[in-house]
Protein backbone atom coordinates (compact mmCIF):
# COMPACT_ATOMS: atom_id res chain seq x y z
CA UNK A 1 0.00 0.00 0.00
CA UNK A 2 2.76 2.42 0.98
CA UNK A 3 4.91 1.31 -1.96
CA UNK A 4 1.94 1.76 -4.29
CA UNK A 5 1.52 5.34 -3.06
CA UNK A 6 5.25 6.02 -3.42
CA UNK A 7 5.17 4.69 -6.98
CA UNK A 8 2.21 6.93 -7.80
CA UNK A 9 3.98 9.98 -6.39
CA UNK A 10 7.09 9.27 -8.45
CA UNK A 11 5.17 9.02 -11.72
CA UNK A 12 5.97 11.92 -14.07
CA UNK A 13 3.13 14.23 -15.04
CA UNK A 14 1.22 13.04 -18.09
CA UNK A 15 1.47 15.20 -21.25
CA UNK A 16 -1.02 18.07 -21.22
CA UNK A 17 -2.68 16.85 -24.43
CA UNK A 18 -3.73 13.66 -22.66
CA UNK A 19 -5.60 15.18 -19.75
CA UNK A 20 -6.45 18.76 -20.71
CA UNK A 21 -9.54 18.01 -22.87
CA UNK A 22 -11.05 15.83 -20.13
CA UNK A 23 -10.33 18.36 -17.37
CA UNK A 24 -11.59 21.31 -19.45
CA UNK A 25 -14.79 19.45 -20.32
CA UNK A 26 -15.18 18.40 -16.68
CA UNK A 27 -15.09 22.09 -15.71
CA UNK A 28 -17.44 23.24 -18.45
CA UNK A 29 -20.01 20.47 -18.05
CA UNK A 30 -20.18 18.73 -14.66
CA UNK A 31 -19.50 15.02 -15.31
CA UNK A 32 -18.46 15.81 -18.90
CA UNK A 33 -14.86 14.71 -18.38
CA UNK A 34 -16.05 11.29 -17.22
CA UNK A 35 -18.37 10.99 -20.22
CA UNK A 36 -15.44 11.81 -22.51
CA UNK A 37 -13.39 9.09 -20.80
CA UNK A 38 -16.27 6.59 -21.19
CA UNK A 39 -17.09 6.46 -17.46
CA UNK A 40 -20.76 7.10 -18.15
CA UNK A 41 -22.24 5.88 -14.86
CA UNK A 42 -19.92 7.95 -12.72
CA UNK A 43 -20.31 10.90 -15.07
CA UNK A 44 -24.09 10.74 -14.71
CA UNK A 45 -23.87 10.63 -10.90
CA UNK A 46 -21.48 13.62 -10.86
CA UNK A 47 -23.62 15.57 -13.32
CA UNK A 48 -26.78 14.91 -11.32
CA UNK A 49 -25.18 15.80 -7.97
CA UNK A 50 -23.37 18.97 -9.03
CA UNK A 51 -26.28 20.21 -11.16
CA UNK A 52 -28.78 19.30 -8.46
CA UNK A 53 -26.83 21.17 -5.83
CA UNK A 54 -26.42 24.23 -8.06
CA UNK A 55 -30.13 24.29 -8.98
CA UNK A 56 -31.13 23.93 -5.32
CA UNK A 57 -28.85 26.90 -4.59
CA UNK A 58 -30.58 28.95 -7.30
CA UNK A 59 -34.05 27.96 -6.06
CA UNK A 60 -33.04 28.95 -2.53
CA UNK A 61 -32.05 32.34 -3.99
CA UNK A 62 -28.45 32.09 -2.89
CA UNK A 63 -26.11 34.98 -3.64
CA UNK A 64 -23.27 34.80 -6.17
CA UNK A 65 -19.93 36.16 -5.00
CA UNK A 66 -18.03 38.86 -6.86
CA UNK A 67 -14.30 39.40 -6.28
CA UNK A 68 -13.83 42.34 -3.93
CA UNK A 69 -10.80 43.92 -2.39
CA UNK A 70 -10.69 45.35 1.10
CA UNK A 71 -9.51 43.80 4.32
CA UNK A 72 -8.03 40.32 4.20
CA UNK A 73 -11.19 38.50 5.31
CA UNK A 74 -13.42 40.31 2.79
CA UNK A 75 -10.98 39.58 -0.03
CA UNK A 76 -10.63 35.95 1.01
CA UNK A 77 -14.36 35.28 1.33
CA UNK A 78 -15.44 37.08 -1.82
CA UNK A 79 -12.62 35.92 -4.07
CA UNK A 80 -12.81 32.35 -2.73
CA UNK A 81 -16.58 32.38 -3.13
CA UNK A 82 -16.28 33.70 -6.68
CA UNK A 83 -13.80 30.94 -7.57
CA UNK A 84 -16.18 28.37 -6.06
CA UNK A 85 -19.10 29.73 -8.07
CA UNK A 86 -17.03 29.94 -11.26
CA UNK A 87 -15.91 26.30 -10.97
CA UNK A 88 -19.48 25.18 -11.71
CA UNK A 89 -18.69 25.89 -15.37
CA UNK A 90 -21.63 26.25 -17.71
CA UNK A 91 -24.10 26.37 -14.82
CA UNK A 92 -22.44 29.55 -13.56
CA UNK A 93 -22.02 31.02 -17.04
CA UNK A 94 -25.67 30.39 -17.95
CA UNK A 95 -27.03 31.81 -14.71
CA UNK A 96 -24.93 34.97 -15.18
CA UNK A 97 -25.93 35.20 -18.87
CA UNK A 98 -29.61 34.96 -17.94
CA UNK A 99 -29.15 37.77 -15.45
CA UNK A 100 -29.27 35.89 -12.15
CA UNK A 101 -28.30 38.45 -9.57
CA UNK A 102 -29.46 37.86 -6.05
CA UNK A 103 -28.44 40.29 -3.32
CA UNK A 104 -27.12 38.79 -0.10
CA UNK A 105 -30.21 38.89 2.11
CA UNK A 106 -30.81 37.64 5.63
CA UNK A 107 -32.45 34.28 6.24
CA UNK A 108 -31.27 30.72 6.64
CA UNK A 109 -32.66 29.54 3.28
CA UNK A 110 -30.75 32.19 1.30
CA UNK A 111 -27.67 31.48 3.36
CA UNK A 112 -27.90 27.77 2.57
CA UNK A 113 -28.47 28.69 -1.07
CA UNK A 114 -25.22 30.68 -1.20
CA UNK A 115 -23.36 27.72 0.30
CA UNK A 116 -25.00 25.30 -2.14
CA UNK A 117 -23.84 27.42 -5.10
CA UNK A 118 -20.24 27.56 -3.88
CA UNK A 119 -20.16 23.89 -2.87
CA UNK A 120 -21.48 22.81 -6.29
CA UNK A 121 -18.37 24.41 -7.79
CA UNK A 122 -16.05 22.82 -5.23
CA UNK A 123 -17.57 19.39 -5.85
CA UNK A 124 -16.98 20.00 -9.55
CA UNK A 125 -13.31 20.63 -8.74
CA UNK A 126 -13.20 17.14 -7.16
CA UNK A 127 -14.76 15.76 -10.36
CA UNK A 128 -12.10 17.60 -12.42
CA UNK A 129 -9.31 16.09 -10.32
CA UNK A 130 -10.85 12.64 -10.74
CA UNK A 131 -11.08 13.17 -14.52
CA UNK A 132 -7.41 14.19 -14.52
CA UNK A 133 -6.38 11.03 -12.65
CA UNK A 134 -8.36 8.81 -15.02
CA UNK A 135 -7.01 10.57 -18.12
CA UNK A 136 -3.44 10.39 -16.79
CA UNK A 137 -3.84 6.65 -16.18
CA UNK A 138 -3.48 6.84 -12.42
CA UNK A 139 -6.95 5.50 -11.81
CA UNK A 140 -9.46 3.24 -13.55
Amino acid sequence: MVKEKELQQKQPMAPIGVWFPAVALAWLIPGGGHFLLKRNGRGALLAASVTGMFLCGLMMQGAMFQPQSGDLLTTLINTGGFIGDFCSGILYLLSVCFGYSQPDIAGHVHDYGTKFLVTAGLLNVLAMVDAYEIAAGRKE
Binding site: L46, A48, V50, Y112, G113
Partner: protein, 61 residues
Amino acid sequence: MPKMNLSHFEAAFLFSLFASVVMGVVTKRTDRDRLHYGIYTFACFLLALFALGWLMYFGHG
Protein backbone atom coordinates in the same frame (compact mmCIF):
# COMPACT_ATOMS: atom_id res chain seq x y z
CA MET B 1 -37.29 30.04 -11.21
CA PRO B 2 -39.38 28.22 -8.58
CA LYS B 3 -38.46 28.98 -5.00
CA MET B 4 -37.49 26.43 -2.37
CA ASN B 5 -38.24 27.06 1.25
CA LEU B 6 -36.52 24.37 3.29
CA SER B 7 -35.95 23.90 6.98
CA HIS B 8 -32.41 23.67 8.36
CA PHE B 9 -32.69 19.90 8.49
CA GLU B 10 -34.00 19.52 4.93
CA ALA B 11 -31.30 21.81 3.51
CA ALA B 12 -28.53 20.06 5.43
CA PHE B 13 -29.93 16.65 4.41
CA LEU B 14 -29.86 17.62 0.71
CA PHE B 15 -26.36 19.05 1.10
CA SER B 16 -25.18 15.80 2.69
CA LEU B 17 -26.75 13.70 -0.03
CA PHE B 18 -25.17 15.56 -2.95
CA ALA B 19 -21.76 15.87 -1.27
CA SER B 20 -21.72 12.17 -0.30
CA VAL B 21 -22.50 11.02 -3.84
CA VAL B 22 -19.62 13.07 -5.28
CA MET B 23 -17.19 12.01 -2.54
CA GLY B 24 -18.13 8.38 -3.05
CA VAL B 25 -17.69 8.60 -6.82
CA VAL B 26 -14.31 10.38 -6.87
CA THR B 27 -12.55 8.81 -3.90
CA LYS B 28 -12.27 5.04 -4.25
CA ARG B 29 -11.14 2.69 -6.97
CA THR B 30 -13.87 0.05 -7.18
CA ASP B 31 -17.64 0.46 -7.43
CA ARG B 32 -18.16 -1.51 -4.23
CA ASP B 33 -15.74 0.71 -2.31
CA ARG B 34 -17.34 3.82 -3.82
CA LEU B 35 -20.79 2.72 -2.65
CA HIS B 36 -19.50 1.93 0.84
CA TYR B 37 -17.63 5.21 1.11
CA GLY B 38 -20.62 7.20 -0.14
CA ILE B 39 -22.89 5.59 2.46
CA TYR B 40 -20.22 6.08 5.14
CA THR B 41 -19.79 9.81 4.41
CA PHE B 42 -23.56 10.29 4.27
CA ALA B 43 -23.90 8.58 7.68
CA CYS B 44 -21.09 10.80 9.06
CA PHE B 45 -22.83 13.92 7.74
CA LEU B 46 -26.10 12.89 9.39
CA LEU B 47 -24.38 11.98 12.65
CA ALA B 48 -22.64 15.36 12.74
CA LEU B 49 -25.92 17.07 11.85
CA PHE B 50 -27.80 15.49 14.77
CA ALA B 51 -24.87 15.84 17.20
CA LEU B 52 -24.35 19.53 16.43
CA GLY B 53 -28.11 20.13 16.47
CA TRP B 54 -28.45 18.70 19.97
CA LEU B 55 -25.27 20.49 21.10
CA MET B 56 -26.70 23.83 20.00
CA TYR B 57 -30.06 22.97 21.60
CA PHE B 58 -28.45 22.27 24.99
CA GLY B 59 -25.97 25.13 24.52
CA HIS B 60 -28.85 27.59 24.31
CA GLY B 61 -30.07 26.40 27.71
